[in-house]
């Protein structure tokens, strides 16, 4: 028996970073907003407090903050010819759950994408010609430009209090910042983080090689900050428990610190946790949503009628929600027709390990999630690809996020995997190794996509999402190239041994890489290659908006969070100034 709830203006699926920000703005504008969150409510006090907060076994190894994959997994295969199987342990990527979403366990790395990223297809054709790209790639423009998003990036960074150093203020290059960045309208809200010793070594070597090192933009803050919502964030203490953990100090910018205390006080907003949305309901025309159906923690089914539905859960779950609801046409890799699930992309992560003598003391445990030093000389379009045979690139940085005892133990190749030899190598290298992160772009290709699994179902009887993914050749070439550059920097730092590990196929879900899953509900100007228009409104069902990394047509050389934040404020602007005043299609198809 389905209980029908009182109709609301807006229902939000997933109260994470995007959901919290949107709910706050729409509730403040006078609309009644219901936020449905499948996970538990949680706040800095009492949920994130020590000593429990630093339980590495619970949070890092056993992934306590992640989506419960005994109830809701993702199935995976490398190619369409294979049979996908459910991922029973999260390793490669770590989707979160609960109030605040995946951002609660992020590292705080807060980059903007560059202007060329948003016009990648047209830019690539213009610079390298029509025949440069591998025909299997599905690179396309976003339908928005950097200029469109700049004010929204700015607003997002000031919401979080991001610590950094501008490299390009209104077109003027700034010493100490990233000279490759697209122009920003003002300086970061807070000063850059203190530089780690490994970062200082990296900076020196990169400068000697003629590169342009700069401090990683961090949303674990360098100093106390009061954001435009009136909320106060504290200084990071460099405890080294950011990614996979929640922050006990109110120092990491997460919804609990930058927006939820304001949102929760607004009587126009109602949060319902433990609510698993089953589908977006459509009327008989299939072009209008009437609300959503969800099941609460006690197993009771509810219908929540709403004039506007916004799905802003984790990227993979946004795609699944549309597929479960029959919103938009599913992508078919054989015919190339359909859009939902198309252009799934990831991130192409490589590493360089530099092993030093014992007189070089790194102290990796004095760490914060985004206190690295890096270069963008080989990221995006910052170098000439014409003779390289690939597009995209990678930032290269000494990004020392932690030195946690269970999972941080860099050892050189040839070290035994266990026993006395392994223990000796760990003791020898733990404090004398610098790890570089090479954070590579990921291009969409025809064969990579998301759809519903024909066999496996979740705890509520709904099909799981199926991922079909292999690294495009383009991206593996890129990884090989940038890893070579990283090795040169490690050598210039004076390491006695430098080991580059470029990403190789086949893609495996059993090794941690990154949680930057993108695409599947991509944005664009053409309904035949995108699910949502430039305002993130579904082409086929105009009272449904989809917001998240699932909107990215392909993934760039940097972490996605700030771009998701900018898209969020961009969509809010369209909602409050256009759509809600006169509901209907914002772009004619």
């Amino acid at each position: 028996m389905t209980q029908v709830m009182k109709a609301t203006d807006v229902v939000i699926i997933g109260v994470g970073m995007v959901g919290s920000i949107i709910a706050k703005e729409l509730a403040a504008a006078g609309y009644k907003v219901v936020g449905l969150e499948r996970g538990p409510p949680r706040f800095t006090v009492p949920d994130f407090q020590s000593p429990g907060a630093h339980d590495e076994l619970r949070f890092d190894v056993r992934k306590a903050l992640m989506q419960d994959n005994t109830r809701e997994a993702v199935t995976f295969r490398n190619q369409s010819a294979q049979t996908a199987l459910p991922i029973r342990r999260w390793e490669s990527f770590l989707p979160g759950t609960g109030l605040g979403g995946s951002q609660v366990h992020w590292n705080g790395q807060t980059y903007r994408f560059q202007a060329q990223d948003f016009e990648m297809a047209s830019h690539t054709r213009k610079r390298y010609g029509d025949k440069f790209l591998d025909p299997d790639l599905r690179i396309q423009d976003w339908g928005v430009t950097y200029a469109d998003l700049e004010p929204h990036y700015d607003r997002f960074e000031y919401l979080l209090g991001t610590s950094g150093k501008a490299g390009n203020l209104k077109g003027k290059i700034q010493p100490g910042g990233d000279p490759f960045e697209s122009a920003r309208s003002r300086e970061y809200p807070t000063r850059p983080m203190k530089e780690h010793y490994s970062g200082a070594m990296f900076r020196k070597a990169a400068n000697e090689l003629g590169y342009h090192p700069y401090p990683q933009p961090s949303s674990n803050l360098s100093e106390p900050y009061t954001n435009p919502e009136g909320l106060k964030l504290n200084t990071c203490v460099f405890c080294g428990f950011c990614e996979r953990f929640a922050c006990e100090h109110y120092a990491k910018a997460v919804p609990q610190t930058f927006i939820l205390p304001v949102l929760m006080k607004n009587p126009n907003f109602e949060l319902r946790t433990g609510c698993q949305v089953q589908r977006i309901n459509l009327d008989s025309s299939k072009t209008k949503a009437t609300g959503v159906t969800y099941i609460d923690a006690a197993g009771r089914e509810f219908e929540q009628p709403a004039a506007l539905v916004i799905t802003c859960s984790f990227a993979l779950n946004n795609v699944r929600m549309l597929l479960l609801s029959g919103v938009g046409k599913p992508y078919d890799p054989e015919s190339g027709q359909g859009v939902v699930g198309r252009n799934y992309a990831y991130q192409t992560m490589s590493t360089v390990a530099s092993f030093f003598d014992k007189n070089v003391i790194i102290n990796p445990f004095m760490a914060s999630g985004a206190s690295g030093t890096l270069i963008n000389d080989f990221a995006g379009e910052n170098f000439d690809h014409s003779k390289l045979g690939f597009v995209g690139g990678s930032f290269i940085g000494a990004v020392n996020t932690n030195g946690r005892p269970i999972n941080y133990h860099p050892v050189p190749p040839g070290t035994p995997a266990w026993g006395a030899g392994w223990k000796k190598a760990v003791a020898d290298h733990y404090n004398h190794t610098v790890m570089f992160s090479l954070h590579g772009s990921s291009m969409a290709q025809k064969q990579n996509y998301l759809d519903l699994d024909p066999t496996y179902k979740d705890a509520w009887g709904q099909p799981l999402l199926r991922m079909t993914f292999e690294f495009p050749k383009n991206d593996l070439k890129m990884a090989e190239y940038v890893t070579g550059k990283g090795v040169e920097i490690g050598k210039a730092m004076g390491a006695k041994q430098v080991v580059g590990t470029p990403r190789k196929g086949p893609y495996t879900v059993t090794q941690y890489q990154t949680t930057h899953n993108t695409g599947g509900t991509v944005m664009g100007d053409d309904p035949s290659t995108s699910v949502v228009n430039r305002y993130l409104q579904v082409w086929d069902v105009p009272n449904v908006f989809v917001i998240g990394a699932s909107n990215f047509p392909q993934n760039a050389s940097w972490n996605p969070t700030a771009t998701i934040g900018a898209l969020t404020y961009w969509a809010i602007d369209a909602l409050t100034n256009k759509y809600l005043k006169n509901p209907g299609r914002l772009v004619s198809a």
């Binding site: 800095t44 020590s50 000593p51 100090h249 007189n359």
Partner: protein
């Protein structure tokens, strides 16, 4: 000092060695034996064994880490921890003597000098909540995140609070609030102190006093 402390001290010393090799200055290593001689000047207020004087609010020093104690002496001398009594005393010591006396007190472990009286039970209960859990409504994290479980200290980042007198803890939090003390990294304590009202200051002070010195 426990094994973990020795390990951490070793790392810090190694770190200091790396940093100073660039600056070409020898690190100062405290000598507890010399420090015992210097410490005679401290005993009138801090007790023969660094146990402190509860009623007067003179803090217990015994068993605080040498790193912490040396930093406080240096900060009294430089003025980032303003105190009319301690400033001239700290300035009167050489950098080596400050390190020595810090090493001396770090190695002592006398019994508590606390009077055998119970504090206000309601205040202690509220202080325990703040110490262990914090208060979301004030965006206050638990004291224990940095000062360790029950305020036993977190070498070398944060001093122990357990067993300090309520009078001392109250006065120090008020120094953070007034800005008389500003020797914390990133204003970590100033931010916290400014979110504590008088009742909460009294509560955390009563709580950590009630715990008594921990090994």
């Amino acid at each position: 000092m426990n094994a973990r402390g020795v390990l951490r001290l070793g790392l810090l010393a190694a770190c200091a060695a790396t940093a100073t090799s660039a600056m070409a200055a020898a690190p100062i290593v405290g000598d507890a034996k010399n420090g015992a001689t210097v410490a005679t000047a401290c005993q009138a207020c801090h007790g023969a064994q660094g146990e402190g004087i509860y009623a007067a609010g003179f803090p217990r020093l015994a068993g605080q880490t040498a790193v912490y104690l040396e930093k406080q002496l240096n900060d009294y001398a430089s003025g980032t921890r303003a105190n009319p009594v301690m400033a001239p005393l700290a300035k009167g010591l050489s950098a080596q003597q400050r390190a020595d006396v810090a090493a001396h007190f770090a190695g002592l472990s006398p019994p508590s000098a606390a009077p055998n009286t119970a504090g206000d039970a309601n205040a202690i209960a509220r202080g325990r909540v703040l110490g262990r859990q914090g208060d979301e409504s004030k965006q206050l994290q638990a004291c224990g995140n940095c000062h360790g479980p029950e305020g036993r200290g977190e070498a070398f980042a944060a001093p122990y609070l357990a067993g300090q007198s309520a009078t001392y803890i109250t006065s120090v939090i008020k120094e953070w609030k007034s800005g008389a003390r500003k020797n914390d990294a990133g204003q970590l304590m100033a931010v916290v102190a400014n979110r504590l009202d008088d009742a909460d200051i009294a509560a955390v002070a009563a709580y950590f006093e009630s715990v008594g010195p921990l090994p």
